[in-house]
């Protein structure tokens, strides 16, 4: 089953587990805020029993999100074939993108404050269509810039007009 979205004839590179860490921190912030707001408002309006119930619901939700984030992080992988970049991700909704290097219009390397703190970056390959969804999150900054340079070099070498 898995070989459908990750053909074994190329070597796949996983992304850094720090991606999961960043996402878990983000989730923790969101869940934390929601818990506090819910706890206070339920507690004040309907009684503290409901507040505690809310706390439990949020706890379960967070635990589930924690697991999902881990699984999702492990599903991200990419491969550099001779002429194409392959990006595969997703557990529930899976996707495998095949982008020829020659089709590349430009490459973005982005890192938010949280991502920077954890030392990861996102590389995104843009073609002439926004439908191409070739984004690789959770790369080590060195790997990200290596990939950027390699992709732009290959894109130059194999460039193909519209």
């Amino acid at each position: 089953m898995d070989d459908l979205f990750a053909p074994s004839d190329v070597s796949w590179t996983p992304v850094s587990p720090k991606l999961a860490a960043v996402r878990r921190v983000t989730a923790a912030i969101v869940f934390g805020l929601m818990t506090i707001v819910g706890l206070v408002s339920f507690g004040l309006m309907m009684g503290w029993l409901y507040g505690v119930l809310w706390l439990v619901v949020m706890g379960i939700g967070f635990a589930w999100t924690w697991v999902l984030i881990g699984r999702n992080q492990r599903s991200w992988k990419y491969a550099e074939r001779e002429d194409e970049l392959l990006v595969s991700h997703g557990i529930m909704f899976r996707q495998l993108v095949v982008v020829p290097y020659g089709r590349m219009q430009f490459v973005d390397v982005a890192a938010g404050p949280l991502e920077r703190a954890f030392g990861i970056a996102t590389v995104e390959l843009h073609t002439a269509t926004p439908a191409t969804d070739a984004k690789i999150p959770g790369l080590h900054p060195d790997e990200a810039s290596r990939l950027r340079d390699r992709l732009s070099a290959l894109g130059q070498a194999q460039a193909w007009g519209l």
Binding site: P100, A131, L162
Partner: protein, 473 residues
């Protein structure tokens, strides 16, 4: 552009820093004047005091004229060796340089007011740019046509000087869509029929059954009936397709005359739409993806999706003729179509019968849709990326989607709900085919719009073709 520009083309249009047509501010701002006048006329307090109203109106007029004149004075355009340069703005100076080799298509448009004054606007489609990026307005119609000819020659790399002099010779139209058929086709399209049915049900429900759904629901339905009719009949009035040196040319519009050129080799994909009732009559619509022509221009209300419309409604043989011109070598009947497996009916109870794809060595064809059947055709060497997708339900049924992405446009080639092995095969095969097509098509204009130009002067076309071949390397 690798080859040097050997003979400098004619110098007639090439002056340094030309201004636009002096009436430009008036044509641009006519709405402003009209609104000002109406506002004046409708204002009660002003109507009682006509003198004040007159002074106000004059002040607004003078202000408008002054602003327009300033903007006109500071707007200059010029042609340089490899680009067109546009300077504008008197407070915030702005210079825009559009390189000739980046221009994908050039149109001459005549909005209603401009047409009254025999003026025209030049619209250049630039890859990756928004619609308004390459506008130059206004010229007198003759100047616009001449400039368009010059620019096209430069953009395509043809330096055949004689062609620039005959850019606006109206070649005999290949086909004209009759207004009656246009109206009939619009009335029978799925949107209008659906809205009409909803409207009738609403009227019956409120009057006969005393079931007051609320007439608010009627407004969007009414809009769904009136808007497409208006848009089709006014926007596509006398839709004419003709063949020129620069590719196929479309002309349409009742008030706003729109011209658009489909340059050879710029076609990225093609979409044939056949709504339910049209299929019985053998009608279909053809839309194109052209590089640089953004289909969903939202800055420009008048044309949302039909930025690259090739045929609003055509009969079977007309469609076949148009297809043969735009995509020579395409033979839909010879491409073997693979249907989706029967278990796709869990996801598409009726439509699964119509899901299919097929490919030959040049094109990938996908069909889908029951109410409105959509056939997408993609050229292998224009493929941007290939995507394999699968949702949770599809995983249970061992199905997957394969998307073949083309640049922005109406074409949406997707092989829906394939068996997973079939999908994996298609993904690999399509990636291979795209790679192969990119390699083999070493001279990157493998597709010409015109296999044999029917133009009267045969010498110019033969002189033009080698230059065209080496154009967009």
């Amino acid at each position: 552009m690798s080859e040097p520009t050997a003979p400098p083309p004619e110098k007639t249009v090439e002056r340094n820093g030309d201004r636009l047509h002096p009436l430009t501010p008036f044509v641009r701002g006519w709405g402003y004047f009209v609104v000002a006048a109406i506002a004046m006329a409708n204002n009660e307090s002003l109507r009682s005091n006509l003198e004040l109203a007159g002074i106000g109106l004059v002040a607004v007029l003078i202000g408008g004229i002054a602003l327009g004149a300033l903007s006109w004075w500071f707007t200059k355009w010029q042609l340089t060796d490899d680009a067109i340069r546009l300077d504008s703005g008197f407070l915030f100076r702005r210079t825009r340089i559009i390189r000739f080799d980046r221009i994908q298509a050039i149109d001459v448009a005549q909005p209603f007011v401009a047409r009254l004054f025999n003026m025209a606007e030049l619209r250049m489609d630039v890859a990756g740019g928004s619609r308004s990026d390459g506008r130059l307005s206004y010229f007198s119609y003759e100047d616009a046509a001449k400039l368009r000819g010059t620019l096209l020659v430069r953009a395509k790399g043809e330096h055949a000087a004689e062609q620039a002099q005959t850019p606006q010779v109206e070649s005999p139209p290949l086909l004209v869509v009759p207004t009656g058929r246009l109206l009939g086709a619009t009335l029978l399209s799925s949107t209008v029929l659906g809205s009409l049915a909803g409207l009738i049900w609403l009227i019956v429900a409120t009057t006969v059954l005393e079931f007051h759904v609320g007439l608010f629901a009627g407004a969007p339905l009414l809009l769904g009936v009136v808007q497409p009719i208006w848009k089709q009949v006014v926007g596509n009035h006398k839709f004419t397709l003709s063949e020129t040196h620069d590719g196929l040319r479309t002309k349409r519009g009742l008030f706003d005359l729109q011209r658009q050129t489909v340059p050879p080799g710029r076609v990225q994909g093609l979409l044939i739409t056949e709504p339910l009732v049209w299929r019985l009559l053998g009608w279909s619509r053809v839309d194109l993806d052209i590089a640089g022509v953004v289909g969903g221009g939202n800055g420009d209300g008048e044309e949302d999706r039909d930025g690259a419309q090739l045929l609003p409604v055509g009969e079977r043989q007309e469609v076949a003729g148009v297809l043969a011109r735009v995509l020579p070598g395409l033979d839909l009947s010879s491409i073997e179509m693979h249907r989706a497996p029967e278990r796709a009916k869990w996801l598409r109870p009726i439509g699964w019968r119509y899901l299919s794809y097929g490919a030959d060595d040049q094109f990938l064809v996908t069909t889908r849709g029951w109410v409105s059947r959509r056939t997408s055709i993609v050229l292998h060497h224009k493929t941007q990326s290939v995507r394999l997708q699968q949702g949770p339900l599809q995983r249970r049924l061992r199905l997957a989607n394969v998307h073949v992405d083309t640049p922005t446009g109406p074409t949406d080639a997707v092989a829906l709900h394939r068996d997973i092995h079939d999908a994996a095969r298609l993904l690999e095969a399509q990636a291979d085919r795209a790679r192969e097509a990119r390699r083999t098509a070493s001279s990157p204009v493998p597709v010409h719009t015109q296999p044999n130009p029917p133009s009267p002067e045969g010498s110019s076309s033969s002189a033009a073709s080698p230059a065209a071949d080496s154009s967009d390397t």
